[in-house]
Amino acid sequence: MSRRAWLGSAGVVAAAASAGALVALVRPDPVSGHPPGVPDWLPAALAREQQLLHGLDAAIRADPTLGVRLAPLRADHAAHLQVLQVLSSRYGPTPAAGGGSSARASTPTPTSVARVRQAELAASRATAAAALTAAGGDAGLLASIAACEATHAAVLT
């Protein structure tokens, strides 16, 4: 990855933390309570991790020389999936993600580094969005997973 690309990716994210975003720390807005049962974001988060693992496996099958480069990323996603599955078991039965099966069928399977990178970026954005609605430690976990997926995109630039 070029130095310019590294600096750019971190800089873009840093810039996103805009000046106004941290304002009013002591003027809290109400945050919706955590709904009972499985949170809305969990089935989709599980499906995303499974899809990313599927895509990485496909990319490695298509070009086995990518194995060394992509194996650490695959290990990260396997860890994400494991933690989310543990979380899911605590919440009880998790319904299938809305459109999860069809999404898997219709989403192009990444078979190149560029497509894997695009998939990581999309997953990072979606997981960060989920972190905005999750409660407590779940939000921290999702934010961490989103950050990890952003680092994956960075190393693939």
Partner: protein, 151 residues
């Protein structure tokens, strides 16, 4: 008993504290680096921390809080004796910042919080994770990423 708002403000102040430390540590480690590319990266990352520090302090002021002042000194966690030590300190710095921002995400999601705060903390966590990955890729090229930044 600490109120949720007090906890949230303490987490924000702690995040500010790690950004002060990051600026200090980048200033200390920079002269130890010898590779021109890494020096440039360190300078850029230091500037990013400086900007985030200033934004965070300004946000606290805007919220009626008094930002914690920087410490007069930040003891080095280990002696700096060359480039590898400098890279290790940069990685440790980013790891510490990521942890502080992740904690703020969790705290903001644990009770009433101003809109925008959680988003800003997520962005800051992500930025530190990306910077950490840059240094980890130099120190540990076979494993440049970690599954749970900030943990």
């Amino acid at each position: 008993m600490t109120s949720p708002t007090q906890t949230l403000n303490a987490a924000a102040q702690a995040a500010l504290g790690t950004e002060y430390a990051a600026v200090f540590y980048y200033g200390a480690l920079g002269p130890q680096l010898t590779d021109a590319g890494q020096i440039a990266v360190a300078r850029t990352f230091e500037e990013q921390h400086r900007e985030l520090r200033d934004r965070t302090a300004a946000a606290l002021v805007a919220a009626g809080q008094s930002p914690v002042p920087p410490q007069t000194d930040y003891p080095l966690p280990f002696a700096l004796a060359g480039s590898v030590d400098a890279q290790r300190l940069a990685l440790a710095t980013e790891t510490g910042c990521a942890a502080a921002w992740r904690y703020l995400v969790t705290t903001a999601a644990s009770g009433p919080a101003p809109s925008g705060l959680r988003r800003a903390a997520i962005d800051a966590l992500t930025a530190s994770a990306i910077r950490a990955t840059r240094w980890r890729g130099i120190l540990h090229p076979a494993q440049p990423t970690v599954p749970f930044p900030g943990s």
